[in-house]
């Protein structure tokens, strides 16, 4: 009897509090937008790719975005789930759509305009029109700073051959090929990918040197020995001209709201005219 009473109270409370949104964000960049729009209060769970800002780690994770479980997502009792078409597996997405939870699929394009549209879509899904407009103004201003920089200091590296490496664990060079998000980053920066393979692929130091990169960008996760890694690139034009940049991979490759600043800072580092020996001396 008490149990039944408890059940009904729970249901009653449940229906009262259902007025407030319970949000699950499945994609690092979407989670960042949720925070940027000040909607983090309604966030009840994240996925494994949501690692920024740090506060997001307090939320339970429903797992990796391509390996979701229907019950896992439903167990946090969401009213709305934000995801991109990278989320899966397909039948779990299918099942979630069949449940009475609102599933919002955000169209995600890897470009500055794509990020802008992402912010718009999330804002719309969260009914945060004012915050969205405010944030978009901010975003547009930052994007303009970057685009202006590209026209000025960016001219120095425009059209240069670049390589973008991912991870760099145990000195393995994982070069980004065409049709990757890294390729889109290079496009935004006005750089040409020196690698022609598809996806991310390990390449040898020898092959890397033969690709003759003028610019090297290293997307990192976690702490790494920058001097040690930089040494590997000794025989490249990029090293000679001190055009080697390290950037956090979640910041750079998730195509979230931090993209304009991230791109600007890469351009600034690439065109700063310190000689290489002095940088190494600092370290």
């Amino acid at each position: 009897m008490i149990k039944i009473f408890a059940l009904f109270t729970a249901l009653l409370v449940g229906s009262v509090s259902s007025a407030s949104e319970r949000l699950v964000s499945i994609d690092g960049s979407l989670t960042e937008v949720v925070y940027a729009l000040g909607a983090q209060k309604s966030l009840v769970a994240r996925d494994d790719t949501s690692v920024h800002p740090k506060a997001v780690f307090r939320l339970p994770s429903v797992g990796y975005m391509r390996a979701l479980s229907t019950e896992g997502v439903l167990s946090v009792k969401p009213t709305k789930v934000l995801l991109t078409d990278a989320a899966g597996p397909p039948n779990v997405i299918n099942q979630l759509q069949l449940s009475n939870v609102e599933i919002v699929t955000i169209k995600s394009e890897s470009s500055l305009t794509g990020v802008r549209s992402k912010i718009e879509q999330v804002g719309k899904a969260l009914n945060k029109q004012e915050d969205t407009e405010k944030f978009l103004n901010d975003f547009d201003a930052k994007a303009k700073i970057f685009l202006d920089k590209r026209k000025t200091i960016g001219k120095a590296v425009e059209g240069k051959r670049a390589l973008l490496f991912l991870g760099m664990q145990s000195n393995q060079l994982n070069a980004a090929g065409v049709r990757t998000k890294a390729q889109s980053v290079l496009n935004e920066l006005g750089l040409v990918n020196a690698a022609t393979h598809q996806a991310y692929m390990p390449i040898s130091t020898e092959a890397m040197i033969s690709l003759n990169p003028d610019v090297i960008i290293i997307a990192t996760h976690g702490p790494i020995d920058k001097a040690q890694i930089t040494k590997q690139f000794s025989f490249t034009p990029a090293f000679k001209n001190n055009r080697i940049v390290f950037k956090d991979s979640a910041e750079l490759l998730s195509f979230g709201p931090r993209l304009p600043e991230s791109l600007t800072s890469i351009l600034e580092q690439l065109t700063a005219s310190t000689s290489h020996s002095s940088t190494l001396a600092h370290q």
Binding site: L11, S61, G63, R66, S69, T70, G72, S75, N91, M201
Partner: protein
């Protein structure tokens, strides 16, 4: 005396499986009141319950937990049965369905689907993957069988070697494909190889269950012949069994069972190897009891692993194959050590 001791295992294991079946419906990341579970099951027969949040609960029970529970039981029972058959056929307690290359072939088929067909989109791949795994598994077994068959005689030793060789070819193929795979495909591949019963839909079950159930039923009819076979092929031949034909049928059934299981649940190792072994310790080597009891135990064991997989990292989920190996292997080692102690 001994017979009555064994007879107790049937109701015991049936009861265990049934309780786990109920537990599997009742337990998960979302806590659901037993009453709601019952009313959801009633909903299966057209009686919609009037509980307020019934749609979520009913959805979870009927579309998520029930299919995964049925899958776990079917796959668990099938893999255990095929393990018993392989160990009996090869007269080796270390034999398991992977020996004849079927798992490796199925993996290769699945990986091909993931990597080569990813251009067709995730939804289509989710349908093509089971087909790829099934085809790969059957093809590998067929090749192994052809390698091992000379003048109509299938040589067991050659069968083993052929299995290893085809397995090596398949792993080389998997390696090559993974080298060219992109990050998303690699991730899918890794997850698939850890096995999961949570991705199956009713359609998969509808297609797979007749094959699995009929195959198991045929294997069941061979349970006394397996006794003869495990005494040696010559003995079985002397006893008047058509060894050639029996071998062929058992191999085909095993390949069928493993290919279908792998295609709906990915790679779940361990059950085929360990369940028959455990059961042999409990009930002895008589296949008349070993086979049916292994089926029940396999179903129960995979259910346990699946239930655990839901809680360890909730609201996320661990792949059940991983859980299986993580809890199963140390347990198995413990049993082996105890057995050694008891015999010395």
């Amino acid at each position: 005396m001994l017979i009555s001791f064994r007879a107790w295992f049937y109701p015991l294991f049936a009861l265990l499986s049934f309780s786990l079946f109920i537990a599997s419906l009742g337990l998960g990341a979302m806590s659901i009141h037993p009453f709601d579970i019952f009313s959801s099951l009633m909903g299966l027969f057209g009686h919609l319950s009037d509980v307020k949040n019934a749609d979520v609960v009913q959805f979870l029970i009927l579309e998520v937990r029930l299919p995964r529970t049925v899958t776990a039981m079917l796959v668990g029972a099938s893999l255990a049965a095929s393990g018993v058959v392989m160990q009996g056929l090869f007269r080796n307690p270390l034999a398991d369905p992977t020996l004849i290359g079927v798992s490796a072939g199925a993996s290769f088929g699945a990986v091909s689907a993931i990597v080569l067909l990813s251009g067709f989109g995730a939804v289509l791949v989710s349908y093509l993957l089971p087909i790829g795994a099934f085809t790969g598994g059957m093809l590998a077994t067929f090749l192994v069988y052809r390698v091992a068959t000379r003048f109509g005689q299938t040589d067991t030793a050659l069968l083993l070697l052929g299995g290893i060789a085809i397995g090596a070819v398949a792993s080389a193929g998997i390696g090559t494909l993974s080298y060219f795979a992109n990050d998303a495909e690699l991730r899918d591949l890794t997850l698939w190889s850890m096995g999961s019963v949570s991705k199956t839909q009713w359609l998969n079950i509808l297609l797979a269950s007749p094959v699995l159930i009929i195959s198991m039923a045929i294997l069941f009819r061979y349970r006394s012949i397996l006794n003869a076979m495990s005494m040696g092929e010559h003995v079985a031949y002397q006893m008047g069994h058509d060894v050639k034909r029996i071998k062929k049928i058992l191999l085909i059934l095993t390949a069928l069972i493993v290919s279908v299981s792998v295609s709906i649940s990915g790679i779940i190792l361990f059950i085929g190897l360990v369940v028959p072994h455990l059961l042999r310790m409990l009930v002895g080597a008589d296949h008349k009891h070993l086979l049916p009891l292994s089926m029940l135990a396999g179903a129960a064991l995979l259910l346990v692993a699946d239930i655990i997989s839901r809680f360890v990292v909730a609201p996320a989920e661990l792949p059940v194959g991983l859980v299986m190996s993580l809890i199963g292997s140390p347990f198995f080692i413990l049993l082996l050590v105890q057995q050694k102690r008891a015999s010395s």
